[in-house]
Amino acid sequence: MSVIIDRRNLGTRSSANQDRLQRRVRGRVKAAVEKLARQRSLGDMLDTEQPIAIPTKDLHEPSFRRDMRDAAWEQVLPGNKEFRRGDRLPKPQGGDSGDGGDDEGAGASDGLGDDEIAIVLSADEFLSVLFEGLELPNLRQTRTEDIQLDQWRRAGFVKDGSPSRMHIGRTMRTARARRMALRSRKKGELEALLQQAETLEEEIRTRHGHGEDTSIERFRLDEIREEIKALERKIKAIPFIDESDLRFAHMDQQPRPVTSAVIFCVMDVSGSMGDLEKDLAKRFFLLLYLFIHRQYRSVEIVFIKHHGEAMECTEQEFFGAKEGGGTLVSPALELVEDIMEERFPAEHWNIYLAQASDGDNAQDDNRYVQERALALLPRLRNMFYLEVNQDQESALSRLYKAIAQEFPDLMTARARRTEDIYPLFRALFTPKKGLAHG
């Protein structure tokens, strides 16, 4: 009795093996993907499946085998034409013609060369390797999809709440700020008093030398010393943590999911941006765009291009942009601020700003840039500034670096060549361990 079954619709069952194979060579795959990402245009790479050559020595499976190269052997072969018993045949050069008994492992040639196999990555697998381990910094994450609209969510910080919600990072930060603030004024006073005391001591010594009376000065010195003691006591008494420092994670009913995030892409398209600079900037934004789309379904992207003035545009216009003209950076930041206020209130959105420019900003505009950046930064999760140029670091870049001293969430980087972009991108989006999230 025979049974006939149609198995065709069951699909292949190789994915588990494929998955383990990729795990096994993940270092190689990663290196190959990163190399591709540095060299080729991303658009090209995503169109087709990506074959990656892996040396089979990485995938060698050892076993006990014979080595018949220098051994005596005898083989029976088919297709004798003219040989008779006792005939002698010259050995081929190179020596190892016969494989004796062991007929396995003679890997057939497969185009890549005998020592390589191809692992084919789908566009999706390619991106997953490309972006492996990267994330948007400081993103406050919850599970998005299945969350109801009205739900308790974290919503900033408040000064009181239940102890279980106390936010250590925030609390310590405020405490430190308070200690510094209080101490610095008192330290100033202390400084002044010590100064006075010293002057008096000097005075006393001089008068003493001249045989003059020092009782008034002594009296004053004692007074000052009392004050110093008191001040020192006070400085010591500044509490490490004051009740007023306590911060609690606030929970609120909010209509929007907290994971909603928006990323502003701000690109300089002015005349000073040459083809290479534009290409570098676009590469960066394209990576960013793919990354965001792949890893964060609910993240919105706002494209802004600017030269002398700034305008919001579509992604096609953004990536196709070829413009010219002078450069002003501050209008772009103003536009970001406007759009934020209008559509993406900071209390509901994780907001990121990525900016790429050659830094060739009008000299007097940098002052406004500073103003705007300082106004924006407290509302941003992160700001990335990528400078693309061949020459000196620009004033704009130095300005941002100075601001970054205060706001570590502002990150700057410089790219000169195409190959720089991907490593730099990785560096920006690799989560930094141990950084206190605000």
Binding site: M1, S2, I4, I5, D6, R7, R8, T12, R13, S14, A16, N17, Q18, D19, R20, L21, Q22, R24, T56, L59, E61, P62, S63, F64, R65, R66, D67, M68, A71, A72, W73, E74, Q75, V76, L77, P78, G79, N80, K81, F83, R84, R85, G86, R88, L89, P90, K91, G98, G100, G101, D102, D103, G107, A108, S109, D110, L112, I117, A118, V120
Partner: protein, 498 residues
């Protein structure tokens, strides 16, 4: 007996109905004319992609996942896509019911051929060859594979994919040394297997504490009784020995070794009977296709298409051809089985001199006897006739490393037949066998090292042996020494590895 309108098909597209009808007809022929005793058939229609999957896992319908199968598939997919490799038309599994794969790309003639070849030829061979009967358990294999797969999935979940992979890597490296050639294995059954697994866990713990009762230490070495040799006799099944005796191997790792070992053992007879198995299946399909044609069930066109595939499969390139890749088991096996029939029906004086059964009118009985009672080595030794040697133009070539040239030691002539036949049998036996490496001693009182010894005369590939030994050491947990004849190799156990 059948009228002209009886053709099973005229155009060449297969349908499920046609496959069903053809299978029924072949079953009739197989029973009436060849007296084949088969497992029930399960024919599965699959795609080329699925065929590549099946290839990657040595044809087994399910297998635990491992990167090496992914590697195999990557290699074969590449070859297939570049047209360097055609897929076999069929793949058949030694199970009850006997599963045969039919590729959807096949024409109806090809499907007919595949059904005759696999679903009846191989199927009957699996069921009746005594080597298969003794060594494999067609009833239990599917269940056992299922058990193995789910057990390993469970381990991956519990211990991580990478640590499981490490164990499987090591087990695979030794899988050719995981066979008890002399011992008949036990039957498999899943439920039994699970129950036994629990028993084993308990047993191993007792057993191990028995073996390793002593605490290793320098002082103890002196106290070691001289005659207390362990194992008492050399053990050829390295995996079994490690599984049962490794001092510190985690229980789940032992179980994985066992799974790999059981599957290796299940596959073992296939490597020992390749010539016979393919030869017999070809013999069956050849008979069936002609019989279908004789009965008017397939037309001349179908028969010609069949001939084209048949000759392609049984083609033997000459030794000096670029296509030469060893002796084609299809060619040799088919030639010998056909020859057995010929020797029965049309014996020559030479045949009568060589074979006692020459002229026996019951050729089918002789075919069945040959199919049941031999494996490749003994089959060739028993049945390779001068005629087949002449037809294939066989000759023997010897290499002496000290000599400048190869030497032709025998050709297909009266002086050479016996020599050729035994040389070929020896060659077949050796190629199917892995280097004979056995456990000769365990240092129970000292550093616990495992002592292996190469028992055969052939030189070992030392680079391979070194890497394989590292796997052994990883499993054993202590150093491993291999006496490879001219050299002693030592693999150190990494600290903390178990």
């Amino acid at each position: 007996m059948v009228d002209e309108g009886a053709l099973l098909f005229t155009d060449n597209d297969w349908t499920f109905e046609r496959i069903a009808v053809v299978t029924e007809r072949i079953a009739e022929i197989a029973e009436a004319e060849l007296a084949l005793d088969t497992y029930p058939n399960q024919l599965e229609v699959i795609t080329a992609e699925q065929m590549l999957d099946a290839y990657a896992s040595t044809g087994l319908p399910m297998y635990y996942p491992h990167w090496s199968f992914g590697k195999q598939r990557a290699i074969e997919t590449g070859q297939y896509r570049r047209g360097e490799m055609g897929l076999a038309y069929e793949l058949v599994i030694n199970s009850n019911p006997c599963i045969s794969y039919l590729m959807e790309e096949n024409t109806m003639v090809m499907q007919t051929l595949v059904i005759a070849h696999a679903a009846f030829g191989h199927n009957a061979f699996f069921k009746n060859n005594s080597f298969f009967q003794q060594w494999t358990d067609a009833e239990g294999i599917l269940d056992y594979l299922e058990f193995g797969k789910s057990y390993i999935a469970h381990c991956e979940e519990k211990y991580g994919i990478d640590s499981v992979s490490d164990v499987i890597d090591a087990a695979h490296a030794l899988s050719r040394n995981a066979i008890d050639r002399a011992r008949r294995p036990q039957k498999l059954s899943t439920r039994e297997e699970e129950r036994k697994r629990r028993e084993r866990v308990e047993f191993i713990e007792q057993h191990l504490s028995e073996i390793w009762r002593t605490v290793p230490g320098a002082a103890d070495a002196a106290m070691a009784p001289q005659e207390d040799r362990f194992p008492r006799e050399p053990q050829e099944n390295l995996v079994y020995f490690i599984e049962k005796n490794a001092p510190t191997l985690a229980t789940w790792k032992r179980e994985i070794l066992r799974i790999v070992r059981k599957i290796a053992q299940y596959l073992y007879p296939q490597g020992q009977t390749k010539i016979m198995n393919e030869g017999f299946a070809c013999f069956v399909h050849y008979h069936v296709m002609h019989s279908l044609h004789d009965k008017g069930l397939i037309n001349d066109g179908a028969l010609l298409e069949f001939y084209a595939s048949h000759t392609a499969v049984t083609f033997q390139p000459d030794f000096d051809s670029r296509r030469y890749g060893g002796i084609n088991p299809y060619t040799l096996g088919f030639a010998i089985f056909q020859d057995i029939k010929r020797i029965c029906l049309n014996p020559t004086p030479e045949d009568r001199e060589w074979f006692a059964f020459a002229g026996d009118p019951d050729w089918l009985k002789q075919i069945h006897f040959a199919m049941r009672e031999f494996r490749d080595e003994s089959f060739v030794l028993q049945y390779l006739s001068p005629k087949v040697m002449r037809d294939l133009h066989l000759f023997a070539l010897a290499n002496d490393p000290k000599e400048e040239a190869f030497k032709v030691t025998a050709v297909h002539d009266d002086q050479g037949y016996h020599y050729l036949r035994s040389a070929l049998a020896r060659q077949i036996a050796e190629s199917a066998r892995s280097p004979d490496i056995e456990v000769v001693a365990v240092n129970r009182w000292g550093d616990r090292h495992l002592h292996l010894k190469k028992m055969d005369a052939y030189p070992l590939d030392q680079a391979e042996a070194k890497r394989t030994l590292d796997h052994v050491a990883r499993l054993w947990g202590y150093d491993v020494h291999l006496d490879a004849g001219d050299v002693i190799m030592i693999a150190r156990a990494k600290a903390g590895a178990s």
